[in-house]
Amino acid sequence: MSTNTPHGSEENMSERDADVARNTAHGKHVAEVRFPSISETQVIEFLKISTEEPSESYLNECLDWIKASQSYDRPIILELYGTLVIWTPTQMALVTAPRHFKKAEHAVLDFTTTAFELGAIEQALPSAWEHYENDIPNGFSFYNPDRESAAALAHRYKQAMSLAGRLSRLSPHIHLAPEHPPTLAGQLGERLRDRSRLVDREEFASEQIDTIIRLYETAGQRVSEHGLAQREYVLIWMIVFLLAAEIILLLVDLLSTAGN
């Protein structure tokens, strides 16, 4: 089974639990969720239990399921108004009543997409920092005659700007205004974002990206100044050459006139 979820994630039901997934209204099954827009390889196992029974009675079962898969991530456990969510970056479980299931599932997947996208940005940050220290002098002056250095700086600027763009697009999903009157989906999303500290993490990532962009913007100005200076230098020499040629031609002209 493969279904499209609202934020572009894809689900594939795992074979090992396919036998228990016949009843979608009441029952449980494990699906594999992929986020192709974020990562081709990242797969999350999603245990879905749709039941009228109290969700807390499934807590141990869900925790055992996560432990059995040898997941080393410390799970976020959320019990809220009869709904249980256990979330790790590799596995998640949702237990709720059938009538609330779609909305709760939507909220969990929505949060997961946001958390993954932010995680992907955070993972990309160390590579952006990699050249930062070495590039700092270029923020003050740029002397490298080779074109490759300028191209490398432009590339890093583009990378940082791309990260900033991704983070800006993500921010509205992180800073969602709380709903009033509250809905189950809204509450789940709000608390999951709160527990995984998405707001703080987004702020830290934003500050880091700003710092990196500031350097490469300044370095970009220096590179452009360097380019202009180079062109001016060539122009000056051309003028000198033309003036010299003019003088020589004048001298030749004078000498020939004098000879006559």
């Binding site: 205004a177 709380p178 009033h180 009157p181 509250p182 509450q187 608390r191």
Partner: protein, 461 residues
């Protein structure tokens, strides 16, 4: 020649008195002699952070939270708290527990109230938001709306606004806001009732408390003041003397004592204000008029219980929730303020008629009633019970702050502007029954006195 210092007397060592003294010291360019008279043996009034003797765990026995308006516009109280370097923590809660059901979401409401009542509730919610925008809500809590005149629905009671709703919906809304109002819907206005409903929406207002105890604000204020603070000094009489100054008198073991002041601020709730004697007939009439206009007493009762451990985490997910017991009361998870605490503390905040009625009972009866009111795990609660504390705050707040007819800021703060421009009043009952309102009030009074002191100095020169 040195100009003699102006003497300012402030009656009341609660937040109103301290805020006024603090603002006066900040605003006044001329040095002042400020004296604060407090009838009890402590400062802080309704801001009271207490401890359990059993294990020293803290809890809020008075005002449990502060209101944060900074999302909409300036929030002077929040700025002051930040200026003092006090750490804050946000508080939240969406659930109402009705008939052993925790209703924290629209879905829960649908299951409990049914489709028709839910639709009705959503219509009420939409209507409230259409009538009062976040900006209008903010303005109604600050000074700006006073001069804008009152609305045509100012005198309409909140009970009339709920009249068209079904019993189920009305009950839900009343229980939701009962402890905030501390009064019954028939005792307050349509607008104040709506404001109390809308404050549950985070787009209108958010809640926070001070890490380590709300009364840290009082300590921060007190240690910055150079004012002369006189505890256990209950002012009994205020009179004008021949030099046009105001004489404050108080009883001591050795008889009556008095002192003259150039200006006096009475930062007291309505009940203690009633007990002060004003021998001058004109002033007495003005004060009676002021008290009559603002006398809409609302009551609070706080029951706080220490338990061996917090057993309620499976159903109380936030800092607080509303219970249907006692006509609607707020149940605080006091221990959520202290994440490292091993013990658990629950606080019941009863308001309105239920608070007044229950306040007559003994502490043991109240403790038992509180435990019985828990929707779940009552037996466990009895088993894990360690200690209980009761705080009665009768007539401590106003059911209709500002009165049913809004008055100008001058009239609010100065009961007799002609004869007694140097006798001012400050209080939360003048604005919105909140600490933010007291600060606004103190700011206004301090500005008034500063201008008078400056005029006086100019006259002397």
């Amino acid at each position: 020649m040195n100009t003699p210092r102006w003497n300012i007397g402030i009656i009341g060592g609660g937040p109103g008195g301290l805020f006024t003294a603090h603002r006066l010291e900040q605003l006044c360019s001329t040095p002042l002699n400020i004296s604060i008279f407090e009838s009890s043996n402590r400062l802080g009034g309704k801001l009271l952070t207490e401890q359990f003797s059993a294990n020293g765990l803290q809890y809020e026995a008075g005002a449990a939270e502060f209101y944060d308006y900074s999302l909409i516009d300036e929030d002077p109280l929040r700025e002051l708290i930040e200026h003092f370097g006090l750490q804050t923590q946000s508080m939240g809660g969406t659930a109402v527990v009705q008939e052993k059901r925790v209703l924290g979401t629209i879905e829960g409401l649908h299951d409990s109230l049914g489709e028709a009542s839910l639709r009705e509730f959503i219509r009420f919610n939409d209507r409230a938001k259409t009538e009062v925008s976040p900006r209008q809500f903010y303005d109604s809590t600050s000074t700006s709306h006073i001069n804008a005149g009152h609305t045509s629905r100012q005198e309409e009671r909140f009970s009339t606004s709920l009249h068209y709703l079904s019993h189920k919906t009305k009950n839900y809304i009343q229980q939701h806001i009962h402890s905030d109002l501390a009064a019954e819907p028939s005792q307050t206005s349509h607008r104040y009732g709506l404001d109390n409903y809308l404050m549950n929406d985070p787009a209108y207002m958010q809640l926070y408390s001070i890490t380590g105890g709300n009364d840290l604000l009082i300590h921060a204020l007190a240690c910055r003041l150079s004012a002369n603070i006189r505890l256990n000094t209950k002012i009994t009489t205020v009179r004008k003397n021949a030099q046009n100054t105001l004489e404050l008198s108080w009883e001591t073991k050795n008889g009556c004592q008095s002192e003259d002041f150039d200006a006096v601020v009475m930062a007291l709730p309505i009940e203690p204000l009633k007990k002060i004697v004003f021998p001058d007939r004109k002033l007495e009439t003005a004060m009676r008029n002021h008290i009559m206009h603002h006398d809409h007493p609302a009551d609070y009762l706080r029951i706080t219980i220490l338990f061996e451990k917090p057993f309620w985490k499976s159903w109380l997910h936030d800092s607080y929730c509303m219970l249907d017991a006692f006509d609607g009361c707020c149940l605080y998870d006091e221990s959520s303020r202290i994440p490292e605490a091993r013990h658990g503390v629950l606080g019941w905040l009863l308001g309105g008629t239920a608070a007044k009625k229950m306040a007559k009972h003994s502490d043991e009866e109240l403790t038992s009633a509180a435990i019985n009111s828990l929707p779940f795990q009552n037996d466990k609660a009895r088993k894990l019970f360690r200690q209980a504390k009761i705080h009665r705050w009768l007539g401590a707040v106003s059911a209709q702050p500002g009165g049913f007819q809004q008055r100008s800021l001058d009239t609010k703060h100065c009961p007799d502007t002609d004869t007694y421009p140097h006798l001012l009043v400050v209080g939360d009952y003048l604005f919105d029954s909140t600490l933010n309102g007291v600060l606004d009030s103190a700011e206004y009074a301090a500005g008034w006195i500063t201008t008078m002191a400056a005029d006086h100095e100019l006259g002397q020169k």
